[in-house]
Symmetry: C3
Subunit: 311 residues, 3 copies
């Protein structure tokens, strides 16, 4: 708690915040501090008990990404972490799949009208001029895992609250922003099939072993120390090399945008609206008590008892 | 032995078997049982001491694949295992490379005339609407290893009889169905070069460590328990998500079909018919005592003494 | 020392050396011995204290590669090692980036005028008709690491003098011959980002764990024994299979040549000539005492103290 207060006391605005008007409404779900070329962004969605990846987070992320796209001299590394130690990001807000759902956000990315807004957020992260690092405490599932896969690097603590999963197959869908495709590159084809088709959890030790994350640390202090040191080191280097190196690695290891649009985004859109898909969305909202701090949200991906509630 | 009897006693026909006439002659080399969306297929080629991947197995596999292609509601997971605990699949029948060899099977796939029949079998497995799992006891070499690489997932026991190898380079050929290419994705470029160029064996522990297989288990019971639990879990989920997820992962991690045709299938066809290739096929048939339960079949890929018999 | 003498006493010329006139001037930086289809090539740049990848090494490599391209029957495996146990290859000669630098070598590859000469050397290694193995003792950084990534296989000792790094980002550049792209395939996207963006060292144990190299050995004797046995085994097999297998694996795991030209070679050329790039080249030549046996050359990539000398 004390360290949270410290965090808040050092919050500063990005230098550009004053001059560029934010494109989307602001909800205060992302707190940023900046020092020596490193921007720390702590995500804490106070509209949700479980740090839901909802319209509030998406609007704030959209604004942050626009600032970062324009600022490659002042910020050379971005570190994303979670203010909620039980949940990094559990998944997308399933209410957004219901008819009549209202949002202040556009359906598609203004910069790339073929990309649905949430998909574009993650795609745009992969091509920021900054190095991006996810520091993971708490569960990452669904688009939460796709978010960390879209960061250049990812590190986690071995706390039992850290669990990684792509849960879409269990809901009759597929990973809508390409999570399965990123995983196939990182953990191999056959382990991607195992985890994504079964929608089961990987803990941090296993995740580090198979390449899902860069490394796992025994406690939160070691985790943050390692990442801050790494971030500070990269931030010493000129932006021009960071940008060029990201382009090279992206060219050979990022899923092609056309594959993401057709086989992830469009497949997801279609499957969530079949009778099977609609039925599972409704069941999901019931068994999670509308995505609140419920047994299902805490343990989904673990036991058979939980998974059998659903399909 | 008792468990084998149990297996046989619960054999049922696929529901569609009764209505679709099989395209190819049936030889009874694959025994299937079905329960709660999972089809267990035990391969036991009684025409061979070493579970040879020959025309009998290929005909039965061809029929099974056609049934599975048409049945994505009743069967959502397929588990392949071997009835011969010394050999999962040792390799293709080398007699098929000799002039005058006769077979009831077409040379090319009726559905895709650019694909040689054996190559098409494996390619078609990669795009079945079901999740596919290989449970490996016994040796997998040559097209045997290409078979398990074409399954979505693969698990093995650490029994010394489990050995993985692509042995084609030692015979002056290359992997005809793309085994080297699948391996390059799973174990990396440099380890694929090491194993495929040297034609040497990997044991199950090493294979799990480097990503050749998903996981290795200390004994047969643990292996089968794990796989049956995993299969049952995936089978809970709707086909629509399984199918879409497979398409996504295939799009970014499966070797392109053109590369398989030109650099695997066609290269194999050419190299087996050079003077060097023909000479090695003849020597192979001699030193293996026409692919019977011989020292070479048991130990090929291990010691230098064995490998030096050949080239 | 004794084993070095033995090496020298058994030096023989490649059989073709006598008949083909070398295209480039010869500097004697590569000593070759040949036996039973295996060519051992020991790189010892006597013009440099640190085995610099300079014009002397490049000329000798260029000649050796031309011989190997023409000789796929006599030599089936090439093993590269270093005669300097502190440095395999530290990096390219940064003097070549200065205005007015003179070299007897052409700027572009005669066989492929789109490829800069050093980039072509490495690319041509990937498509030699022989299997290629790097035996690593001493530091590999920058183009040194790109050299070993261009070999089919790589093995190292766990000596503290073995360190792997792509240091270009710290110098405001990117990896000019595609090193970051090769790494993304071998160690995954996120670990490639970590190592390349931070320009930090990986030791041999870590490198083997994450797939940067095939395997690490506790001492030099075990390392060389393993590689010589592996090389001798591959050399038993006909060239036709080695060549075809290399084509297949290259097709799916080697970075595309267009990506290397645009995002590695051309990006490198551009970034080294910006004001930032020129400034860092000059600083680099100063802090390394013009690339001599200096603290920076020995320890770059390790401590923060060293890295902070520079940008």
């Amino acid at each position: 708690m004390f360290s949270r207060l410290c965090h808040l006391s050092t919050i500063v605005l990005l230098s550009l915040s004053a001059v560029i008007a934010a494109r989307y409404p602001s909800f205060g779900t992302i707190q940023t501090t900046k020092s020596a070329g490193v921007l720390n962004a702590v995500i804490n969605n106070t509209f949700s008990q479980i740090n839901l990846f909802d319209q509030h987070v998406m609007a704030d992320l959209g604004n942050l990404i626009e600032e970062l796209q324009a600022n490659d001299t002042d910020v050379r590394v971005v570190v994303f972490s979670s203010g909620n130690k039980d949940f990094f990001f559990p998944h997308i807000d399933s209410n957004s799949l219901l008819p009549g759902y209202e949002s202040p956000l556009p359906q598609f990315d203004p910069g790339n009208p073929k990309l649905a807004f949430p998909v574009a957020l993650l795609w745009n992260i992969t091509q920021l001029p900054q190095a991006t690092i996810a520091v993971i405490e708490g569960r990452v599932r669904g688009i939460g895992n796709e978010f960390i896969m879209s960061c250049d690097m990812r590190f986690a603590s071995t706390s039992p609250s850290v669990q990684f999963a792509q849960i879409e197959t269990s809901l009759g869908r597929t990973t809508g922003a390409g999570g399965a495709m990123y995983l196939a590159h990182e953990i191999g084809r056959s382990r991607a099939f195992e985890y994504v088709l079964s929608s089961k959890n990987a803990d941090a030790v296993t995740a580090a072993q198979i390449g899902w994350i860069n490394q796992a640390f025994d406690n939160s202090t070691e985790l943050h120390d390692y990442v801050q040191k790494l971030a500070a080191r990269i931030a010493l280097f000129p932006s021009q090399g960071i940008i060029a190196t990201k382009k090279g690695i992206n060219a050979v290891s990022r899923p092609p945008i056309d594959a993401i649009i057709q086989l992830a985004q469009n497949a997801y859109a279609e499957l969530t609206q079949t009778p099977i898909g609609r039925n599972l969305t409704n069941k999901w909202l019931q068994v999670t008590n509308n995505q609140s701090l419920s047994a299902v949200e805490l343990n989904y991906g673990d036991g058979e008892d939980i998974i059998e509630l659903l399909p």
